[in-house]
Amino acid sequence: MKGRRPSLRRKAGLPLLIAAMFGATAGMGGLAFYYIERRIRVIDSEALVSGDFLGLVGALVFVGLVIWSARRLQREWSAVRHREQWLATMLRSIGDGLIATDAAGRVTFLNRCAQEITGCDESAEGQPLTKVLRTLDRATRQPTENPIDNVIRESRVVILADPVLLVARDGAERSITQSAAPIRDDVGKVIGVALVVHDVTERELGDSALRASQEMFRLISDHVSDLIAVLDLEGRRLYSSRSYSRHFPGKDFYLSSAFEELHPDDLERGRALFAEMLRAGKTQRDDLRLVRPDGSILYLESEASVIRNPAGNVEKILVVSRDISERREAAELVNRELVFTETLVNSMPGIFYLYDARRKITRWNRTFETVTGYTAEEIRTLDPLAFFPKDEQPRVHDRMLQCFALGASDIEVHLLSKTGHLSPYYVTGLRLEIEGRPCMLGVGIDISARLAAEETLRATLRRLERQNIVLSEQARSPALLSGNLEDSLRAVAELAAETLGCARTSIWFYNETRTHLRCGHLFERDSRRHTMGLELAATDFPTYFDALDEERAIAADDALTDPRTREFADDYLAPLGITSMLDAPIRAGGRMVGVVCHEHIGPARIWQADEQNFAGSVADLVSLSLEVAQRRQAEDALRDAHANLEIKVENRTRDLAAANERLKELDRLKSEFLATMSHELRTPLNSIIGFTGILRQGLAGPLNEEQKKQLGMVHFSARHLLGLINDLLDLSRIESGKMELILEDFPVAEVVTEVMQSLTPLALQKGLSLETVRRDPALVLHSDRKKVFQILLNLVNNAVKFTDEGRVVLAISATTEAVEFSVKDTGIGIKPESMAHLFEAFRQVDGSARRVYEGTGLGLYLCRQLASMLSGSITAESEFGHGSRFVLTLPRRTPKSTPR
């Protein structure tokens, strides 16, 4: 090594080298300051732990060292000018690697440290720096730029503060920082570079250990459920673990007071604890409570410790708090359960006791003391069997053994008190294991009320059964069904008194105005006497009558004082010895009609609900009796009425039949009369007409003109009379429905000819023209020939009769369905106002004409009736003074049954 020094001196000169060294060292010092400053900032903003102090101390030491080195170097530098050897030795011995190059980048010098770091020896001198100092980027592992090029080019100091990886010749890797400074000659020309390589591997290891330590602390403090805080000496939080935000979400704890969330009651204690800890400088513990934002309580077990700085002074406070809410709650729950159980056991209406297999009673409740009448001390000393009467003890003992053997048992037994009082109890035993030893738990309830209730129920059931039997028998009894009210009431009163076991039962009914109650029946059980007929006036017993108006049963257990019944006390109840009354209203037809009274003699009696119901049923029986009796009466009345009605109907029917017979007889007589009259009237007319005919024919001898004329008048009058008789007969037949049709086929022409033949003489006589139009000889009509003839004869006769000059025309026209006969004249015509009455019976249109034109007034009426019978019709039209036209329309075939 010594042998190398002259070459260094030769090339650069020692002063220059020292200047360069100084520059490089100054750079390293700056670097160290930078690091220290950053570390301090880290410590300020993050947690402060002992690791930080180490780092800080290390950094300060380093800075001190660097400063110390630089000063020393400076001092040395002035001395070195005279003592190169000493300086060279010092250079070689400094802790950083020092490498010098020439302007071309070839290594001219390595100190020992540089040799150690790079793994090269002095043989490396003369080689390019890149061969000696191989650096890689720590992240990418790519070769990094050599700083010396920059230094030479720009002639300035270059500091590479970020560590890079130095790969030594032996492959070992180190983290280094580099700084390089130019080496100048006397005139300032850069003739080389001095490179200081600082091995930061150790320091980084220290840093990462510190970081890991901090990480671990944070990890632990963030993940434990404990609340961890670092306080300053004023009690302000410098750090608070994440668990705080679980309880106080969103709150910023930095520099907040540690007493802020304390429960008000714990505040004083908390401050005292803090003060004591500071005073004594020792860890303090206490249970404290915090109040959450929602008001709930957070129970903490807190431990506060001091943190001292390296100088041993208290700097900060570490507070670690454990959430013991659950523990507290569990403890409270247990406590509450205990209190609850205790309260429960003591407030139980029943008894409770516990004894072990040695039959020592260990626990019992207050009721047990009360019922047995023993004190706690006595109970502890008594055998469990002592609480039961002697005669029941064997049974209890059996069950006790059974319970220990099987686990459970029960018994109905009497509990014997200290005073000898017996209470019926139902006790259940249960075997328990307590601390590994079998015990028996007894729980019992007083069953005296239940037993009494059962007895009452049994008695009630017995009564109900009896009542039901009685009621159902009575409802079917012959007395009731007979409808005899007196018998029914007698039976009801007797059975009610017997069933209820009361002295008197009476049945009362209102009078119509409801001013009185009349006794329908009274039965006295002792004397078995039946009476009736007493009366109570509403004016004498107004309160009782008012009470009845409520229409509810009156159950007066103490009738003498009951406000509803005490009106009877002096005159009635007291003399007879009646103490209790049970009165049930009788309803019938939707209203109250009376009351059934049950009266008890002897000690006052409490009417049971079932007895009151029974009384109601008895009242119903009475109303049933009333209904049956009324129905029986109604049935009897109905039967009588029915019988009467039958007789009446019979008589009436007979009357009607007789009347009908008489009517038939009258009708027969009328028909006979008509027939007879017809005959009797016609017979002389036949003679008159016949003989006048013979005379006019001259068969009986020659006649002069006057005789002929007069005989003609006789003949005409007789014919007219005959016509009248025929019309009346026809009218009679039509109106009695006895006109019958004789339907047949006949040629229309024949009938028309007959009509013409009949009337031609008259027309000739009046100088009229009588004509027929369209006499179709083949036209056949299916109808009643005689009636068609009668109608046509009438119509044409009328036309001739009412026409004095001109003509009468009978025109026939036919369709496939009907035949139309039109009779037209040039006569006097008909006034419009008379048209309406033209076809009515017994009317001749013109009253004045009656004297001129003879006729019955029945003709047109009969014509229309006959036409209607033949399913045809007749119409008329006329112009007054100019003539008339009558039209008969008939069907070609008249149907057999014709509507009239």
């Binding site: 017809s678 005959h679 016609r682 003679s687 016949g690 003989f691 005919g693 013979i694 019958e740 004789i742």
Partner: protein
Amino acid sequence: MSAKILLVEDNEANRYLASFLLENSGFTVVHASDGGEALVAAQNELPDLILMDIQMPEVDGYEAARRIRAEPHLAHIPIVAVTSYAMAGDREKAVALGFVGYIEKPIVTETFVSEITRFIPGKAVTP
């Protein structure tokens, strides 16, 4: 030989009227004034034609006709009803009882003889 006609008619005037007309026309006329007489006369006289009034006391025209029809030796004699008893159904009843004709009263003197003449079997009109 002129035909013999039995005229059964209870009314004397009418009997005379018919007889006058018939005898005037040359017929031999025998009379009966009720149904009973009619049967006797028919048996005694064996007429060629019987003109029978219907409405008569005792035995009426229908009954008389039935009895005559019931006699075998008289059954062939045609009977013509002459009646004013013109109630509905009379004509049918008459036909059903074996009457061969039906003449309504009052008789028409001009046509009466010719009407009955056509009911006399095998006889020419001999007025």
